[in-house]
């Protein structure tokens, strides 16, 4: 059929199918700013203005738009400049991945036309239909306010951190005066507490606009789906309806006969090659318990077959036509029942090896000990033991998994894919498709959020197999439901802490027994639980520590990597446990922790025993030590900002005017890691261009975190140029240097140091060439700044002049440098997490009012992107604590695989947040930097739990804190 509509002000007649959505037609017309989030429209990524009203185009039939006006962000892109709204989003750091930014820009456009000066509530209501998993909506609200101000005629205010005076000497605690006012600034403005130990810098530490801002605010092609591929086929996957079953027969004849179908793949026609899908360093942790298509399914949603067809609808229809006979087997879902009598064996196939105890579904037994825990517990003054249960949640990137594969003109396999680990993916994919690594190329464009779920070789093998089978490009994009139950999730665990205390309140022994549920496949199953042990036993000094862990198979949707890895699970248990011990001892919970937490110079005495490649029992000659720790300043700043003194004020906790409400404050001490020592590696190359600018290639993977920007700032600082002179490209396995990828909070620290090394090489050569031009014998006396090389006598030569000279005139050479870095260190960032909340004691409903995180991430290379990481991480963590939960029915089918039933926080319900960046100088990091990406996930759940305890006296040791669970606990209390 044909429809006529006004598209971005121009009357257009478009051809479409009756069943096609407006979203599909707009994409076909090149409006790539309109992005897929879910077919039911609840993410808002596809929002357009329909007759001036913000509306999700996924739930509008194209035919419905006949006769209407449709506006996309492309309408604003009339030249190279930015519309004031786009400029405001760029200036305030309001986008991370930027996947949904065009929708926000359009919403702002419509809102400000109706209301030029909206209040925050109105702005948040506008944003309520655009889910953002990254920013916590804090900076988007600031962007709308700034845009409104500019459109009313005001000058744009520079968006900068608020410099905040230190309250401590950096080492010792202070008493926070309740009358001392906290810094006053909008939530979006990070409070930056400088350290005298940090040398001055020009580009590092500055609130630079993201290097990818232009393409993101304009909605230019940036993401995997945005690039046109001629002859593209669409893939769909037939998935198991059973949690555990053997496939006894497959008849694909009807599917193959369907017009428009080009290939149908399943275990009968794809070679059986074992692998583990976790995107991890070589050699991948065992067991290798997956194949591309198996004759057995192990969870609802497991792969059965895949189809490539002319359209997604034909592929779906073909999947329905595949006849599969199943022998349904018993299933097990609970990690505590996986090894029980009568539990089914999840992996009974002979070709999966390296399972610790196959018959009992025990994949790994992990054990590490320092000292003598039993003896220490026996001699302890008091021993405490508590068990905690943590649940299964999903990462929920707004861009679902998507990959496109094709054979290039040399018949090499090219995969453009939303991945955090392009180099691991290349190495892991090659053997599955019978190619050499050299014949596989993986391109990572921009990614619409990852959070760990894309640290996986998840669907790339499917599109590659189909591309080989069809010799056509093939794209697979997961549906929102598939993203929930057929990608990856966070590991559920049962954790038991046992802690011995001496008469002075010092820890003498601490043990963590853990049963980790790795679902049907072991991907990340070993390392996530190892990190739980590492994070769960590293925060506090104690000579006697033990980690005793079983990792078990079940039939739940597959767990994998999720931001924080095993840290959030372990710290929920640990920080709840420490709170309860303190209260039992009758001491202040922060003082009790302070007595025991690690300080500068203290050993990290269990970390070396819990590595990605295995555990070790051998006592080492030397252990890594804490080199920087800003926790005292974090606690002081956070306590003042949250009003910590109120926690013992009964008149505040029990407001007389609201008799059903109890208020509470909670705290958690957070310590995370920065990269995996001796393993994570990053590479960088930098070359000089004719105009004195630089191309910088990095293998590091910017998920929206701002990594490209931060890495560019590091290079710019070294080379004495503005950030705009560094053109960053990441990442393409044919072009960019190797990098392990975006995980383990490693990019700034590892890849950043690689950048610094590469830039140092270039800087040295620039100085040598400048010395030649200036007639100076000592190149080391030359300084680079302001795009020039300066001699001590004040003469200078520009980098452009050096470039032209070296490329065209004298002793010609390409000035370039490479660097790579792997670190023996893993300097922990620290943070103080505070939460204020209210509990309705009649209903059990918990309402979080405010979250404050003060974090020591060393030197924040970019305080705006760093604070954005903290804001978004905290809100994600609040979802984990409060409301998110994958719910399975008795047969293992997820009952809530869509947003709404699975709630992630919307803009109109987020609590107030404040972020403090407490500087310390970490000498092992680039310009003093440590990590910031994952630590915001660690403290919210225990802080909420401890705040509920403060408010009501109820101890709840299971997540999430849903109204009925809280009500039950209150009733029990």
């Amino acid at each position: 059929m044909k429809i006529t509509l006004e598209l971005n002000g121009v009357s257009r007649t478009l051809e479409c199918q009756v069943h096609e959505s407006l979203f599909r037609v707009l994409r076909r017309e090149g409006m790539v700013s309109v992005r897929f989030g879910s077919a039911s429209g609840e993410t808002g990524a596809s929002a357009v203005l329909l007759d001036g009203r913000l509306a999700s185009s996924e739930v509008i039939l194209a035919a419905q738009a006949e006769g209407h006006s449709v506006t996309t962000v492309e309408s604003l892109n009339t030249d190279s400049s930015l519309h004031p709204i786009q400029a405001a989003f760029a200036a305030t750091g309001a986008m991370q991945s930027g996947y949904s930014t065009p929708a926000m820009v359009l919403g702002t456009l419509a809102l400000l036309e109706a209301d030029p000066d909206p209040d925050d509530e109105t702005i948040r209501d506008m944003l309520s239909g655009i889910l953002d998993r990254e920013t916590a909506y804090v900076k988007p609200v600031a962007a709308v306010r700034q845009a409104a101000s500019v459109l009313r005629g005001a000058e744009a205010e520079p968006f900068r951190p608020l410099i905040t005076e230190a309250m401590t000497d950096g080492r010792n605690p202070v008493d926070v005066d309740p009358a001392d006012p906290a810094p006053d600034a909008p939530s979006a403005v990070p409070r930056l507490v400088p350290s005298r130990d940090v040398p001055p810098t020009s580009v590092v530490g500055q609130p630079e606009v993201k290097v990818d801002a232009l393409r993101l605010v304009k909605g230019n092609p940036a993401f995997t789906a945005d690039f046109e591929t001629r002859g593209l086929l669409h893939a769909k996957v037939l998935r198991s309806p059973h949690a555990h079953a053997r496939i006894t027969a497959i008849d694909d004849s009807a599917a193959r006969a369907l017009p428009g179908v080009h290939a149908v793949l399943h275990h009968g026609n794809v070679e059986r090659i074992k692998y583990a899908s976790g995107g991890q360093s070589y050699p991948n942790p065992k067991p290798y318990d997956q194949v591309s298509f198996d004759d057995k399914v192990r969870h609802v949603g497991d792969r059965v077959a895949a189809v490539a067809a002319d359209t997604p609808e034909i592929a779906e229809e073909a999947c329905r036509l595949i006849q599969v006979d199943y022998e349904v087997l018993p299933a097990v879902f609970d990690e505590l029942e996986a090894g029980g009598e009568g539990a089914p064996v999840v992996h009974d196939e002979a070709d999966t090896v390296d399972i610790a105890d196959r018959e009992n579904n025990l994949v790994h037994h992990i054990y590490a000990q320092r000292g003598d825990v039993d003896a220490a517990l026996a001699s302890a003054e008091k021993v405490y033991e508590q068990t905690f249960r943590v649940h299964q949640v999903q990462q929920c990137p707004i861009e679902p998994h998507i990959s496109v594969a094709w054979l290039d003109s040399d018949e090499r396999m090219v995969v453009r894919t939303a991945t955090q680990v392009p180099f691991h993916t290349r190495r892991m994919l090659a053997p599955l498709i019978g190619m050499d690594i050299k014949d596989v190329r993986v391109i990572k464009p921009r990614i619409g959020g990852g959070f760990g779920v894309k640290q996986e070789m998840l669907i790339e093998d499917i599109v590659a197999h189909l591309a080989i089978a069809t010799r056509r490009p093939v794209q697979l994009e997961l549906t929102r439901a598939e993203e929930f139950y057929a990608s990856r999730t966070r590991h559920p665990q049962t954790l038991t802490y046992r802690t011995g205390i001496d008469v002075d309140g010092n820890l003498v022994a601490q043990e963590l027994r853990l049963v980790g549920n790795t679902g049907p496949y072991g991907t990340h199953g070993y390392t996530v639980q190892v990190v739980s042990g590492l994070r769960g036993l590293s925060s506090y000094n104690c000579d006697n520590k033990r980690f005793d862990c079983d990792v078990v198979y079940t039939n739940i949707p597959v767990p994998g990597a999720y931001r924080g890895y095993g840290g959030p699970q372990a710290l929920f248990g640990l920080e709840a446990h420490m709170e309860d011990i303190a209260l039992d001892l009758g001491v202040d919970p922060i003082d009790f922790r302070r007595r025991n937490w690690v300080k500068v110079g203290d050993e990290m005495n269990i970390a070396p025993h819990l590595g990605e490649q295995g555990t070790t029992e051998e006592v080492l000659d030397e252990y890594p030590r804490i080199a920087s720790n800003g926790i005292e300043e974090c606690v002081a700043q956070g306590a003042r900002a949250i009003g910590w003194h109120r926690r013992l004020d009964s008149s505040w906790r029990e407001p007389v005017e609201r008799p059903n409400i109890r208020r509470g404050l909670g705290f958690a001490f957070c310590m995370h890691g920065t990269a995996i020592p001796f393993l994570d590696m990053g590479g960088c190359s930098i070359k000089l261009n004719d105009d004195g600018s630089f191309n910088m290639l990095v293998g590091a993977t910017d998920l929206g975190t701002g990594a490209d920007t931060v890495l560019g700032q590091i290079a710019a600082e070294v080379l004495g140029v503005p950030l705009n002179d560094i053109k960053v490209y990441s990442s393409d396995t044919d072009v960019t240097p190797f990098d392990t990828g975006a995980y383990a909070s490693s990019t700034t620290y590892i890849s950043g140091t690689a950048v610094k090394k590469a830039a140092d090489v270039v800087r040295m050569r620039l100085k040598e060439r400048a010395a030649m031009l200036l007639g100076i014998e000592a190149p080391c006396s030359i300084e680079l700044r302001d795009r020039k090389a300066w001699a001590p006598d004040g003469r200078s030569v520009s980098l452009a002049e050096i470039a032209l000279d070296s490329l065209h005139l004298n002793e010609q050479e390409q000035i370039m440098g490479t660097g790579s870095h792997v670190s023996p260190d893993c300097p922990p960032p620290f943070a103080a997490q505070f939460v204020e909340l209210e509990v309705d004691i009649d209903t059990g409903q918990v309402t979080v009012v405010k979250m404050v995180m003060a974090v020591d991430c060393g030197v924040a290379i970019n305080p705006i992107t760093a604070s954005g990481q903290v804001e978004g991480g905290m809100l994600q963590a609040l979802g984990y604590a409060h409301c998110e939960e994958i719910v399975l029915d008795g047969d293992g089918t997820m009952v809530n695989p869509s947003f709404g039933p699975y709630p992630i926080y919307r803009a109109d319900e987020t609590p107030e947040t404040e972020v403090f960046l407490v500087q310390t100088m970490e000498d092992s990091g680039p310009f003093g930097a440590k990590a910031v990406a994952e630590i915001p996930k660690d403290g919210v759940a225990p802080a909420v739990r401890n705040a509920i305890l403060n408010a009501t006296g109820a101890r709840i040791n299971e997540l999430p804190f849903t109204p009925e669970r809280v009500h039950r606990a209150l009733h029990r209390t």
Binding site: M1, V18, H19, S21, A39, S40, G41, E42, G44, A47, L50, R53, L54, A55, S56, E58, V59, I60, L61, A63, Q64, E66, A103, G107, D125, M126, L127, S128, G129, I130, E313, E316, E317, R320, D840, D842, T843, G844, Q845, T847, H882, C883, E885, V887, V895, N896, G900, P903, Y905, R906, D908, E909, P960, T962, P963, E964, H967
Partner: protein, 242 residues
């Protein structure tokens, strides 16, 4: 999306009804329910947007809201009672409420619909047409007749209304909610989350006839408990029972 085989945009109610009388023909309002459905069963879409059923018209102590009025338009119109406006805003987020229509919300009669509950306490009357002709009936009796179309909904504007709900987060669709309205003559109380659609209950004994079904958000017993707590709150806030 469901598999749309044909698309119609009738210009009159008669044409729409004639189409809807045909097998597999379904009415299409905003599309937030029908177009979000992934049921592959083929259907023929009958788009109601050209029927001129939109608009909000006050008339004395009543206001009449056309069936194709969007929830956003209801939320924005201060001639509509406050509790209905708030419910329209809470029903869906911004990018969907601009599309969703009052008629679709009434016809769907979702068990958790705050807007439906707000209409109930405002004594909504549904003007509909169907194979058997026109109908003017109380929403409390039935949402819409089989095969019929909502034309408009009229609500009383007097009285004092209030609302309470319990959800997992502040903007979550409440597990259970209570909406009450007191007029000079009486108190009306509607609950969501306790029956297969929002329902009016006796303000003096709100849980007496309830037999809720539990799900992952709340067990049957918990829902019953919430019904009692929330009902008591809104009744008290509205000045007590009858």
């Amino acid at each position: 999306m469901p598999r749309a085989l044909t698309y119609h945009r009738p210009a009159s109610l008669d044409d729409a009804l004639a189409l809807l009388a045909l097998e597999d023909h379904v009415p299409l309002g905003g599309g937030t329910i029908l177009n979000a459905d992934d049921d592959p069963t083929p259907v023929a879409m009958v788009d109601l947007q050209a029927l001129d059923l939109g608009g909000i018209t006050p008339d004395g102590d009543e206001v009449t809201i056309g069936a194709t009025t969007s929830l956003q338009e209801i939320a924005n119109d201060d001639r509509v009672p406050e509790v209905i406006r708030r419910a329209a805003r809470a029903e869906l987020p911004s990018t969907l409420r601009t599309l969703a229509t009052l008629g679709g919300t009434v016809a769907a009669a979702g068990p958790d619909s705050l807007l439906f509950a707000a209409l109930l306490v405002h004594e909504a009357r549904v003007d509909s047409v169907g194979p058997d002709g026109k109908s003017d009936h109380a929403l409390a009796d039935r949402p819409v007749s089989s095969g019929g179309l909502v034309v408009s909904v009229s609500v009383a504007t007097d009285g004092f209304s209030t609302h309470e709900g319990t959800g997992r987060t502040p903007a979550d669709t409440p597990i259970v909610s209570a909406t009450a309205r007191r007029t000079d003559q009486r108190m009306l109380l509607a609950l969501t989350g306790v029956a297969d659609r929002p329902t009016l209950v006796d303000p003096n004994d709100p849980t007496a006839s309830l037999d809720p079904v539990g799900d992952f958000r709340g067990s049957a017993g918990y829902r019953l408990h919430l019904a009692g707590v929330l009902a008591a709150r809104v009744v008290t806030a509205s000045g007590g029972g009858t």
